[in-house]
């Protein structure tokens, strides 16, 4: 008791720091693990994130359509009010038109890919700039499980790393921990694509003898098991043949615009390795 009262402060400080360092060292360098706490948290926080997203969209809509007209001159007030109403309708119609186009492209994707699919909405994104994940509003109750591929009409989005009953977390292709086995569509050269930052991918393990050129399309090979073959990943942006080593340094621009991701499609695809 004497030691505790005398060294209480340093002991608590040491316990807090040690606890957090132990937590960090337990998870550092390991694959993402879906814990009960994480799934439960996602179930609790998911609706809140969805609500904030919905409020944010509503506020944005009000901001775009109403507040832009606040400084209308009094003499033209009636006219302006009518104009505001028309603009509001126009914005709503424009929004509907854009949603229609997005849904049509998702429908097109459904026809193109012969796998069971599930459309989902992005409700939240990663709080930090160092990792790239989003949360979608579909979970295990809809058939979403870990490692299911997530795509978009433009190309591959990423893979599911966690799923709770109604929500799931998607590791985007641009995350440094993300990887996909790919081929260059023109020359059939094999490699592995890995995330670099928000709009760049790195194509690794392509030997110098292999033919890769700027503008080449990179597609999934279907070998590693997560992604089905033939889905667009992106286009080669830069090839550096000057460096040392047996592999080329290739930079790829992702096909998907990750900054504007609103709806995605989860492919309920699981490769059968017996085939």
């Amino acid at each position: 008791v004497g030691i505790w009262s005398r060294f209480r402060f340093p002991l608590i400080v040491a316990a807090l720091l040690l606890g957090s360092l132990i937590l960090f060292s337990l998870h550092a360098g390991r694959d993402y693990q879906s814990t009960i706490a994480g799934r439960l948290l996602l179930e609790i926080v998911g609706p809140m994130q969805g609500a904030v997203t919905a409020v944010g969209e509503a506020v944005e809509n009000v901001w775009d359509t109403y507040f832009a007209l606040v400084h209308t001159a009094k003499t033209n007030q009636d006219l302006k009010r009518e104009l505001a109403s028309l603009r509001q309708d126009l914005v709503r119609l424009d929004e509907l038109d854009q949603a229609n186009q997005r849904l049509r492209s998702l429908l097109g994707l459904r026809k193109e890919l012969p796998y069971p699919q599930l459309a989902a909405e992005v409700v939240a994104s990663d709080p930090s700039d160092h990792f790239r994940t989003v949360i979608i509003n579909k979970g295990t109750k809809d058939g979403v499980t870990t490692n299911k591929p997530v795509v978009h009409p433009q190309g591959v989005v990423g893979r599911i790393i966690w799923a709770s009953p109604h929500y799931a977390k998607v590791l985007l292709l641009t995350d440094p921990n993300s990887g996909a086995d790919v081929i260059v569509q023109r020359s059939r050269a094999r490699g592995v694509v890995q995330g670099m930052d928000k709009d760049r991918l790195r194509l690794k393990y392509v030997q110098r003898a292999q033919d890769v050129a700027v503008g080449d399309r990179i597609i999934t090979s279907g070998v590693a098991g997560v992604f089905p073959p033939g889905i667009l990943i992106g286009e080669v942006r830069k090839v550096d043949e000057e460096g040392r080593g047996i592999f080329q340094r290739v930079e790829v621009a992702p096909a998907v615009d990750f900054e504007r991701l609103e709806e995605v499609v989860v492919l309920l695809y699981q490769r059968d390795f017996n085939d």
């Binding site: 400080v13 360092l21 960090f24 904030v52 994104s125 709080p127 930090s128 590791l171």
Partner: protein, 170 residues
């Protein structure tokens, strides 16, 4: 104050994945949990405040795509430094606490970057430039009073809902 810090922290964790993420300019974004950790370090009892900061860091790590424990460690370090400073210095005004936020934000970001470097030595994550870190520190320090006020408002709200506690304190 402890309950208010925990509740506001939960709200800020949710907002970090939605509202603050929308308003981010590339790598430049507010770090409200750092502000809360600084406020907790100067105001809360060491052990219970530490547990709240630890839990908020854990929540943030779970909701983000990062390594679980990375933000926990950085936030707990910030909290502990503030708790140590509170014993030695009189940092009880908002301007001084804003200054502390300005100093602690780069420390938090550097600790996160150090953790990332330790884990991803083979494939290092692009580090933030010193200009970005400095800008985040200034933005966090300038915005800190908003979060201090929110914390004070949360305390009042909790007092209103649990008046017995208030009378006992009185």
């Amino acid at each position: 104050l402890l309950a208010a810090t925990a509740l506001l922290g939960m709200i800020l964790v949710v907002l970090s994945t939605t509202a603050f993420a929308w308003w981010a300019l590339g790598p430049f974004r507010l770090q409200p949990l750092v502000i809360l950790a600084v406020a907790a370090g100067f105001r809360l009892p060491l052990f219970s405040g530490g547990l709240v900061v630890f839990s908020l860091g854990y929540l943030s790590d779970l909701l983000g795509g990062g390594i679980v424990g990375l933000q926990v460690t950085a936030l707990v370090a910030v909290y502990v430094i503030c708790a140590l400073a509170e014993r030695k210095l009189e940092v009880n005004t908002w301007p001084l606490q804003m200054l502390a936020v300005g100093v602690m934000t780069p420390l938090f970001l550097l600790l996160v970057l150090l953790g990332l470097w330790l884990v991803y030595k083979q494939n290092p994550v692009r580090p933030d430039t010193s200009a970005v870190i400095l800008a985040q520190a200034v933005a966090n320090a300038v915005c800190a009073p908003l979060f201090f006020a929110a914390l004070r408002a949360m305390v009042r709200l909790i007092d209103r809902f649990w008046p017995q506690k208030r009378s006992r304190e009185a």
